[in-house]
């Protein structure tokens, strides 16, 4: 039996986040099995915990985590380190697989090859964002949130709960859920802008 255990620290600095990204690039370029094993060790237990919170059954969660990691292998050539950090990209794979399996449909997304796609041509858009640095900033900003705000953010991503269900689960008024979330988002955004 596998139980839920306290987290091992994720990437604490951009170098570590970059290593995760380079593993995905290596899988894409040379089908590097060693790099894949590293990715697996880091992300599979996280994806399993994510799936468990939606599915409630550890066998099911194990299977979905394995399936998500297969997709990481298969889709590695679509990963663009300029557009997302490894953790962000793997989160979207897990999210889409969850919607596919639990709700029997595809997550509707923007198609980058859509001829109607409108590209930002303002000068600011040229500024290159370092996605790995950004991911680490988001993570530390999140860790610094007061506990009551952090739990609302976590529940938003980790459980299929509406705001009123979150309110019920935490036994607080709906308005409080909304205001904590708003505070958290302002703080997260403020933290990021303060640095860049």
């Amino acid at each position: 039996m596998s139980g839920t255990t306290r987290t091992r620290p994720g990437p604490a600095d951009p170098a570590e986040a970059k290593r995760c990204a380079s593993w995905i690039v290596a899988v894409a370029a040379t089908q590097d099995r060693e790099a894949f094993a590293q990715l697996f060790a880091h992300f599979a237990p996280r994806v399993k915990a994510y799936m468990f919170r939606f599915g409630g059954n550890s066998e099911n969660a194990e299977e979905l985590a394995q399936e998500a990691m297969m997709q990481v292998w298969r889709k590695a050539h679509l990963f663009d380190p300029q557009k997302a950090a490894a953790s962000t990209w793997i989160f979207t794979i897990a999210r889409n697989l969850r919607i596919d399996r639990f709700r029997q449909r595809k997550h509707i997304e923007v198609d980058d090859s859509d001829p109607t796609l409108i590209i930002d041509d303002s000068p600011l858009a040229d500024e290159i964002v370092d996605r790995d640095e950004h991911a680490v900033l988001v993570k530390s900003a999140m860790e610094e949130l007061p506990a009551d705000q952090k739990v609302v953010v976590e529940l938003s991503f980790f459980e299929d709960l509406s705001h009123s269900e979150i309110a019920e689960q935490l036994d607080i008024p709906l308005g409080t859920v909304k205001s904590r979330l708003r505070l958290a988002l302002t703080k997260l955004r403020g933290g990021l802008e303060g640095v860049s």
């Binding site: 987290t7 930002d120 999140m142 988002l185």
Partner: protein, 234 residues
């Protein structure tokens, strides 16, 4: 395109965390196709999802999980000649439909994917008449929760006065309208909370086409006798 009205941050976060009805997702993805700002915000919220993944609890995998996955990958690689790489979808959408003033040049793909194959522009939609000056087309939903429809409103006509339970969003695709909140043009989204009564009016000489998504059925206050509603699927 000069978009002034966007979905709220909360809406974009719900999209990124994957907890919206498919009807709402469709509207947000269609707006995002036209709005680089909201694409970037969603990317930020997805990074927040990644951070949540990094900071939350972990659950240890079965002892042989990696071997198992590697074995499946080997098997797949052996059959590789068949299909290996997942390619981006290639459904063709006609580009360069005559650009009439403020219209979206052709149908953004998230929406186009749910229209019949022969519909290449907003003009080809098999509209059904709903009331004088108001036509609609109900999209095949997809998920029972929520509804999504296109509406075409003649100049000067107002969308039937309606309040709603739950969340409603309107994305303007052509023309412009004005309501209690302000003026909306192609690409703009009105992201309304619960229990708002509003009555948008197509306010230029051009007809107006919009996509409306709700989490709950719309209720029209006037114009349509309540009795009729079940028959036309509103």
């Amino acid at each position: 395109m000069n978009i002034k009205h966007h979905p709220t941050d909360q809406t974009l976060m719900d999209y990124a965390s994957g907890k919206m009805s498919q009807a709402m997702e469709l509207l947000v993805a269609t707006h995002m196709t036209l709005c680089p700002k909201c694409r970037e915000k969603v990317a930020e919220f997805e990074a927040l999802g990644g951070a949540a993944l990094e900071t939350a609890n972990v659950m240890s995998m079965d002892a042989h999980a990696l071997d198992h996955v590697m074995a499946m990958i080997e098997r797949e690689t052996a059959n590789e000649n068949v299909v290996f790489r997942e390619m981006p979808s290639t459904r063709r959408v006609a580009v360069g439909e005559s650009i009439t003033g403020s219209a979206i040049p052709s149908v953004p793909r998230p929406l186009a994917n749910l229209l019949p194959d022969n519909v290449l522009s907003l003009e080809d939609i098999p509209w059904k008449s709903l009331a004088p000056g108001v036509k609609h087309y109900q999209l095949k939903s997809i998920e029972s929760k929520g509804t999504v429809r296109l509406m075409k409103i003649a100049p000067g006509v107002s969308i039937p006065d309606h309040g709603h339970h739950g969340h409603e969003m309107t994305l303007l695709l052509k023309g412009s309208y004005i309501d209690e909140i302000g003026r909306f043009r192609a690409g703009d989204v009105a992201d309304l909370g619960n229990d708002v009564d509003h009555q948008p009016i197509a306010d230029t000489a051009e007809e107006c086409i919009c996509l409306i998504a709700t989490d709950a059925p719309m209720k029209f206050n006037r114009l349509l006798p309540k009795l009729l509603q079940p028959f036309i699927g509103i």
